[in-house]
């Protein structure tokens, strides 16, 4: 390529341009326009293969909080990455392949692969509080198999894999997609809004990627799901859609042991939950200092099932008088976030006579093995196994909602209002105990009554609303242009329809994360842009802020007061092809403490991550 030197407009400008020339020639020759468009010679046939590569380097900028380290169920991820360590050194590859015939039929498939060298070495040496088990015993600084796959890799998975067809049924255009795909309904904007949207649980979210990999595309965060989506447009103003699923997946969270571990015991990568001090510690050689419940098979739909019962119907109507779009939705869905059942095997306050009376095994004093399926005297002695726990996913959740999208004062504004029934609510663990003990523990269920589907935790009716705004700002003295996105979310629990005893909003629950009747959250993204700061380079300053403003939401991940996350940084967009970004990511929230100063209860997920602030450097390109 030839470049011309601009006539000198000043030494500084010349130097800047000369420097840019050098970088420019390197990058410009490295990437040509366009992806791999496979030329078949047939104009009706289009084959396209795109690859996006992203590299993330992150280091820990905030010191470990002793209070969080003091809670054995929240410390593993924190301890695995000491102050100033590299928390991610990850390469992600997203490969997409489209086959389209006459713009009407075809299939699409995409594959994601990753590997993170930061997980090759972990700093945690505190075996006593480690939740990861190897052969039943805690090991510090090790990842469970599941966590290792998704946090460390190298590994990969298929995302999209579906066929599609566009055809006319009479005069009505119809579009069908069948296979593993994502179609996200409603008008929510940011991830916080997705929790309170009519579209909740329509697709599982990959929060592990979303929390830890800034710059993830939306198309990677909505986990494709097996099903059939049909959309038809009977008139210009009306379109209808129906969706039916045969595949279910849970939300993917930052798993136990990863830097942003939400809870050491969750989810599929969590091996155990620490329950109490081990009374046998010191008397039995080799027994762990702390008792653990072991993670058991979750109560969840099977991954593929023709009778899953998840489906949805929608109608979107854009009458001329409205100058906007109204959406109407009705859905039946399984939850993507779990509640927890805890099955104790050991009771420490049961006299021997009562113990034998309920069919348990007395151990001496007031210790009793009440449930031999949960633990045995041998397991207790060898592993400190207290019992088991399992996750359960609510099913048959009904969601009805209305949405509105309209332009107001030049901004794109959308609003949603929805009502849910059978919605799992924030609950304390549901205890699973022998039938004679059920009366002693409010909200508990008998070992013989564990359901095979759904969840025995608190369920209820909830109302959700959100309003969001997108606006693009023209030039001001501060920036060339800027994008503003804001989303206000609100929810209210209307009534509890199952197991109010474990509901964290009942009259007796007094934790810091006590659910309030109403919750309001706010999230704002602001990204000013400066064009051509150097030739070929646009600069951006992406800033985000999200937090609960008032109250604690009654649903999981719904938001908590004064809990949230934020990020700020600078990014360079080079030749519309390469993107580099340097950002600080922070988390905040309140937690209650024990008399010894350890974190007791976190008010919201981000509160337990409030010492995890980190700096990330990201490079991304698509070719």
């Amino acid at each position: 390529m030839r470049y011309s030197r601009k006539s000198a407009n000043g030494i500084h400008a010349f130097r800047r341009r000369a420097a840019a020339l050098a970088i420019g020639s390197l990058l410009a020759s490295a990437g040509t326009a366009g992806a791999f468009e496979i030329d078949t010679g047939n104009p009706d046939l289009s084959l396209r293969w795109d690859n996006t590569i992203r590299y993330n380097l992150g280091y820990r900028a905030q010191s470990q909080d002793p209070a969080i380290l003091g809670n054995p169920n929240f410390d593993d991820g924190d301890r695995n990455f000491s102050n100033g360590s590299i928390v991610t050194n990850r390469i992600d590859l997203l490969s997409e392949f489209d086959f389209v015939y006459q713009r009407r039929f075809g299939f699409r498939t995409s594959y994601a692969a990753w590997g993170d060298a930061a997980y090759s070495h972990l700093d945690n040496t505190n075996t006593a509080t480690a939740n990861t088990l190897v052969d039943g015993l805690p090991v510090a600084g090790t990842l469970s198999r599941y966590t290792k796959r998704y946090s460390k890799g190298p590994s990969g998975e298929w995302l999209d894999a579906f066929a599609f067809a566009n055809f006319d049924a009479g005069d009505v255009p119809v579009n069908v997609k069948a296979g593993q795909h994502t179609v996200f309904w409603g008008d929510s904007l940011l991830l916080g809004g997705a929790v309170h949207s009519v579209s909740y649980a329509q697709n599982a979210l990959d929060l592990q990627k979303g929390f830890t990999t800034p710059g993830s595309e939306a198309k990677e965060l909505f986990r494709p799901r097996g099903g059939i989506t049909l959309q038809a447009q009977p008139t210009r103003e009306l379109s209808v859609a129906a969706q039916w699923f045969y595949n279910w997946q849970a939300v993917r969270i930052p798993e136990s042991g990863s830097y942003l571990t939400i809870n050491d015991g969750l989810n599929f990568g969590g091996n155990s939950a620490i329950v109490a001090a081990n009374p046998l510690f010191g008397t039995v050689p080799g027994t762990p200092a702390l008792l653990r419940a072991w993670n058991m098979q979750s109560i969840a739909p099977s991954r593929y099932s023709a009778s899953l019962g998840d489906f949805g119907l929608s109608a979107r109507w854009s009458p001329a008088w409205l100058d906007g779009t109204l959406g109407f939705y009705g859905r039946n869905t399984t939850d993507i976030l779990p509640q927890v059942l805890l099955t104790p095997g050991l009771a420490t306050t049961l006299p021997a006579t009562t113990c034998t009376a309920i069919g348990g095994v007395p151990l001496g004093g007031t210790n009793c093995i009440i449930n031999q399926n949960a633990t045995t005297p041998a397991d207790l002695a060898k592993y400190g196994k207290f019992g088991t726990y399992q996750t359960a996913y609510g099913d048959n959740i009904h969601i009805f909602g209305v949405t509105l999208a309209k332009e107001i004062a030049g901004a794109s504004v959308a609003a949603e209002l929805s009502y849910r029934q059978n919605m799992p609510l924030q609950s304390a663990n549901v205890l699973v105990v022998p039938a004679p003990l059920v009366g002693a523990f409010p909200g508990s269920i008998a070992t013989t009554s564990v359901p095979s589907s759904g969840t025995p935790g608190a369920l209820g009716d909830t109302v959700h609303g959100l309003v969001n705004v997108i606006q693009v700002l023209p030039r001001t003295a501060l920036f060339d242009t800027a994008t503003v996105q804001g989303e206000l979310t609100w929810m209210q629990w209307a009534k509890v329809t199952q197991n109010e005893a474990v509901f964290k909003g009942n009259s007796t629950y007094a934790g810091i994360d006590r659910v309030s009747k109403n919750y309001v959250g706010l999230a704002v993204n602001f990204t000013p842009t400066w064009f051509q700061v150097w030739p070929g380079v646009d600069l951006l300053a992406p800033m985000t802020w999200s937090q609960g403003v008032s109250g604690n939401a009654a649903v999981q991940l719904g938001g908590n007061k004064n809990a949230g996350n934020w990020s700020a940084g600078v990014a360079a967009d080079i030749y519309q092809k390469y993107r580099a970004q340097l950002s600080y990511n922070g988390y905040f929230g309140n937690y209650s403490t024990t008399p010894t100063g350890a974190m007791n209860v976190a008010n919201g997920t981000f509160a337990a991550l409030s010492d995890r602030g980190w700096v990330s450097l990201t490079f991304k390109t698509t070719f």
């Binding site: 366009g34 255009p173 904007l189 939306a218 842009t529």
Partner: protein
Amino acid sequence: MFYRTLLAASFAAVFSSGAWAAVSAEEAKQLGTTLTPTGAEKAGNKEGTIPAYTGGLTTMPAGYQKGSGVRTDPFADEKPRLTITGKDAAAQADKLTEGTKELLKRYPTMRVDVYPTHRTVAVPQRVLDNTAKNAVGAKTVDGGVALENVLPGYPFPIPKTGSEAIWNHLLRYSGLGYDGSRYQNWNVDAAGVATLAVEADAFWAWPIYDPKRTGVISATEPYWYNKLLYVGPARRNGEALLLVDAVNPLKQPRKAWQYLPGQRRVKLAPDLAYDTPNPGAAGAATYDDVSVLNGAIDRFEWKLVGKKEMYVPYSSYRLTYHKTAADITKPNHLNPDLVRWELHRVWVVEATLKPEKRHIYSKRVFFLDEDSWTALASDQYDARGQLYRSSFAFQSYSYDVQAPFGDTFAIYDFSSGVYNISGLFGPHNGLKYMAELPRDSAWSPEALAGAGLR
């Protein structure tokens, strides 16, 4: 007495309710006689460098394959009759736009090759018939920013005001629509590096020009449907945009929807208009710079300065249909070998920012082709009155469908040294037009969502 009645008549015009008096039936008779049916001067010029109008280009050139989207240059064998470089600019100053002069001044590599003038424009008879009716019937209202009683055709073939002239550009006839042809937009930065800004399939339509549609057009009726399916740059593959512009953007603002890959739904986009920077142009253009001018005109006062003979890009087949973009996107300016200039009569329309309004351009001067009313060039001035940017439209007559094409356009930003060239159809299969409009539901955001692949 004669003067008094004339004075009284002019006072009456000024104090009438904002709608300027339409052209008299007498004046309108000029259409077809001394004026062409679209309102241009039929005769050639004195020097013979502009020929008389003889009905436009009615034959297809040899070498053009019927049905092909790549239109061969009917004047491929011609040689420039005049070449202008920086040193000749002063001698030709009155025939060059300020932007052209600035380019000639800055870059020794810049050159204006002037070829023989051909008045190629011809539009279907029904458009001409409506234009004749519009001459007496159409009027602007609300201070020039709205229209009344306009049939699908050029609204003001004999314009009296700047607003009327610019409405001819805004409602110009460009055919029925583009049928998903693939085009490229490129940015060339100050260091001379060319970057692909957009590669997309363009589904464009002008429904008011549907032959089946007769009757007066209404303010809120859609004028322009723009559906773009992005295929490049690679990171944008799968995105889509739907834009609907009404005849009067003040009564019915632009509506835009963006298709979000990965979620497969559409989100209503905010008002992408006026001087909001067009991100696809590396900040070198605003949204209303597209096609030299589009959208609402209410922020400016419009003055019809007069008519001039100027060198403007014309019959730009070689640019629009050139196979390799890299040949076009040279550092600093488009490759002069591929830009054909001709001498044409253009209307000069000046827009001045109203004191109470906001826009980054304080003044814009437009040069409208007398034959097709397309804005062929414009000069944009910043708040200090300095030349800030200049645009050019590269018009070529699509002889197989009887429609002028003017959606290859470039903008030069003189402060950043960036230029953008949009609407190159050569790298793919050229430009194909719609034979008829698709059904109405094809232009709805839900159709965009349903058809979304990524």
